[in-house]
Symmetry: C2
Subunit: 350 residues, 2 copies
C-alpha cells in the first residue's frame, strides 16, 4: 500500500499513543497534530519523539471543561496547566487549530479524532466542519457511545457527496472486540448473545489516561458524560478511593451494540459490555474476553471466544486497531467507497 | 446490501452445505450449481431442498480420479456411483458444466469453487477460463494449499482487466481462523508466532465429507495430493484404521501462512497449522484454537487467543465464513476493486 499521511486531533493519551504506535508502521506518516494550544504540520513527517516529549504530562487534555461547543468552533481546548503541542519546535499557536488541519486537508489521507470526552455531538459536528471545508479523505474516531453512531449515519449522504470515508468506533471496544465478535459470528446462522468483558490495569498509565478514566466514570450509574466532565480531579480521586481503586462497570453504553446491529450480526439488545478498571495495578483485574453465542445451520448452540493476552495494555489494544482501521479506511476511500463504516465492516490493515 | 446471486461449482460436502447455509442468509440467492453430471440454472433461485435431496449420498464428488485436467477442460468429474445434480428436476446433463456457468456469468455475482481435491493448478486454470469467457464478478475458493496463492497472485493483472475479484482461502483454515489471526495481531507491532490448531469430529458427517478427509490425508508426511487422490476408498479406510480413527496432523501446508505474510502480519514461516481429525466421534478431539503471539509497542510480549466452540461443526465453520467472504467480495467488486484478496484483507459480511 502507498504511503498514508494522517493527522491527529488531540494530544491526550490516545493521540500521543497513536503517534507513537505509528512509528512502528511502515506506511503511516503523521503529518499534523493539534490541541487547544496550537498545531504542528510537517508533510515530511512530524518529529514524533520531540512531540511526545513536548506533550508529556499534558493534564487531561481530552476534556474541555468550558464546553466542547466552543472547542468545536475553535481550537481544541484543554484544562490544566499543560503546555501542549506548542512546546514542540514543530508547532505554532493557533486560535482554531482544527481549521488549520482542514485547510491542509488535501494533503492528509486520514484524520484521527482522539478526543473521547466531548459532548456526543462533538465528533459529528467536527465531521461537518471537515465536509464543509472540502475535506475528502478518511475520518476515524475511537468513540464509545452508542448514540453517536446514529448521528454519524444521519450524515451518510453528506459524507458520500464530500468523498469522506468515516470509520467509527475503531479502538478496542468498540473496535477490535467488535470486529472479533463479527468474525466469531461467522460460525452461526443466528447470533443470540455477544458478551464483551474487559479488564484494564492502569497504574503506571494512569497519568497519561485520565481522560479515559473520566470517560469510564461517566458510565457508572450515578454519572453521565456531562456530570463526569464537570468533576474536578480531586472528585475523581475520591470516586476512585471509594472503590478502592477497582471500579466495575455493567451494561455500559458502548457502541459495540449498534455497530453489530448495523452489520446485521445481531440485535443491539443482545450485546452486553462490561469491565473492570483497576487504577492501582498494572495487572489486569480480569482477562478481556468476547463471547459470541449462536445457533449453527445444523442446529447446534455454541460459543466462540476471543481473548486478549493479559500483558497487552489498553493503549496497545486501542491504538494498534485504530491505526489498522485507519489503513483499511484509506484503502476504501481510494477505491471510492464513502459513507460510514464500523469495525464489523472492515478488516483492519496491519 | 442488494440481492446477491451465486453459483456453486461442485456438489460435494462443501458445495451442498454452502447451498444449505445460504438458505439462512437473506441477501444470497443460489442460481446455479454444477457437477460432472450436469448443471442446474434458475435465476429465480434454485430449489435447494430438492437439489440437496438429489445429491445426497454423492460419493466423494470432490475428487476426479481420472485427472482434473480433463475436468477443467470439460465438466466436473466425480468417481463413484453418485447420481449428481441431474437427479434434480432443475438440472440437465452437460458435457461441460463449467462452461455453462461461464455462459450465464453476466447474471451471476459470485462463483464458489467447492472443489478441494483437484491438482494445484485446477483453481487457477478454472479462473483463467472464467476470465477468458468474459466473466466479471467474484470468484471464491476454500482451498488449503499455500502454493496455490502464488499462482493466483500471478493472475492479478488478468483479474484486474477482467473485473474479477478473487477471494482465496475463504473457509475455516485458511479463512475464518486466518482472519481471526490477522485481527488478533492488531494489539502488536510485531507478530512472532501464529499457531493454528484445529479439532474436527466427523462421525455422522463422514459420508458427506470424504473429499475433505482425503484432502487431509494428503497432508500426512507419507502422502501428497496426487498420491492421496489415487487412494481407493478401501485404502483410505485402512489408513483410518491404522490410526484408530484419530489422525493427528503437524506442520500442514495450509495457506494461512502465505495469506498472513501477504497481509503483512508476519512471515509465513512463523505460522504453524496442525490439527486432529476423529472420524469415529462427533465430539471434537481438541478445541480449535488460534494463538497469536507478539510484541506490543510498549515492549510487552503477549498472546491473543481465538477459540471455536466445540459444538460448531467443521461444516458450520467452513460454510458460514465462505458465504460471509463471498458477500464481502461482492461489495468490493461492486466498488470496482479487482484482483486477489485473502481472509486477512476482508471482514466477512454476516
Amino acid at each position: 500500500m502507498d504511503e498514508i499521511t494522517f493527522a491527529v486531533l488531540g494530544t491526550g493519551g490516545i493521540g500521543r499513543r497513536a503517534l507513537e504506535v505509528s512509528q512502528h508502521k511502515d506506511a503511516l506518516t503523521p503529518v499534523a497534530a493539534c490541541d487547544r494550544h496550537g498545531v504542528a504540520v510537517d508533510f515530511d513527517g512530524l518529529d514524533v519523539d520531540e512531540l511526545l516529549a513536548a506533550t508529556e504530562g499534558n493534564i487531561d487534555n481530552e476534556v474541555a471543561t468550558d464546553g466542547g461547543t466552543t472547542a468545536a468552533e475553535g481550537g481544541i481546548k484543554q484544562h490544566g496547566e499543560d503546555r501542549g503541542v506548542v512546546a514542540s519546535s514543530q508547532a505554532r499557536p493557533s486560535e482554531d487549530s482544527i481549521q488549520e488541519i482542514i485547510d491542509h486537508g488535501d494533503r492528509i489521507d486520514a484524520v484521527l479524532l482522539a478526543l473521547p470526552n466531548y459532548e456526543h455531538d462533538f465528533i459529528p459536528r467536527t465531521a461537518d466542519r471537515f465536509a464543509e471545508g472540502g475535506y475528502a479523505g478518511v475520518m476515524i474516531d475511537v468513540l464509545k457511545r452508542s448514540r453517536v453512531i446514529d448521528m454519524l449515519d444521519d450524515r451518510s449522504d453528506e459524507f458520500e457527496e464530500s468523498g469522506i470515508t468515516f470509520i467509527c468506533g475503531a479502538g478496542a471496544t468498540p473496535g477490535l472486540l467488535t470486529g472479533a465478535a463479527a468474525l466469531a459470528a461467522q460460525s452461526f446462522v443466528e447470533v443470540t448473545d455477544v458478551d464483551i468483558h474487559w479488564g484494564v490495569g492502569l497504574k503506571s498509565g494512569y497519568e497519561d489516561n485520565r481522560g479515559t478514566v473520566r470517560e469510564d466514570i461517566a458510565h457508572l450509574p450515578e454519572y453521565d458524560i456531562e456530570t463526569a466532565r464537570d468533576l474536578s480531579d480531586a472528585e475523581i480521586e475520591a470516586i476512585i478511593d471509594d472503590h478502592d481503586g477497582v471500579i466495575e462497570f455493567e451494561d455500559m453504553e458502548h457502541a459495540d451494540d449498534v455497530l453489530l446491529e448495523r452489520a446485521g450480526v445481531c440485535d443491539a439488545e443482545d450485546v452486553t459490555v462490561g469491565g473492570i478498571l483497576d487504577v492501582r495495578n498494572d495487572e489486569k483485574p480480569t482477562t478481556t474476553t468476547v463471547r459470541v453465542t449462536g445457533r449453527t445451520f445444523d442446529g447446534e448452540t455454541a460459543t466462540n471466544t476471543f481473548q486478549l493476552g493479559d500483558e497487552t495494555s489498553m493503549e496497545a489494544n486501542v491504538n494498534g486497531p485504530a491505526l489498522g482501521y485507519l489503513k483499511a479506511g484509506v484503502r476504501r476511500n481510494r477505491a471510492g467507497e464513502y459513507g460510514v463504516f464500523g469495525p464489523a465492516d472492515l478488516m483492519p490493515g496491519f
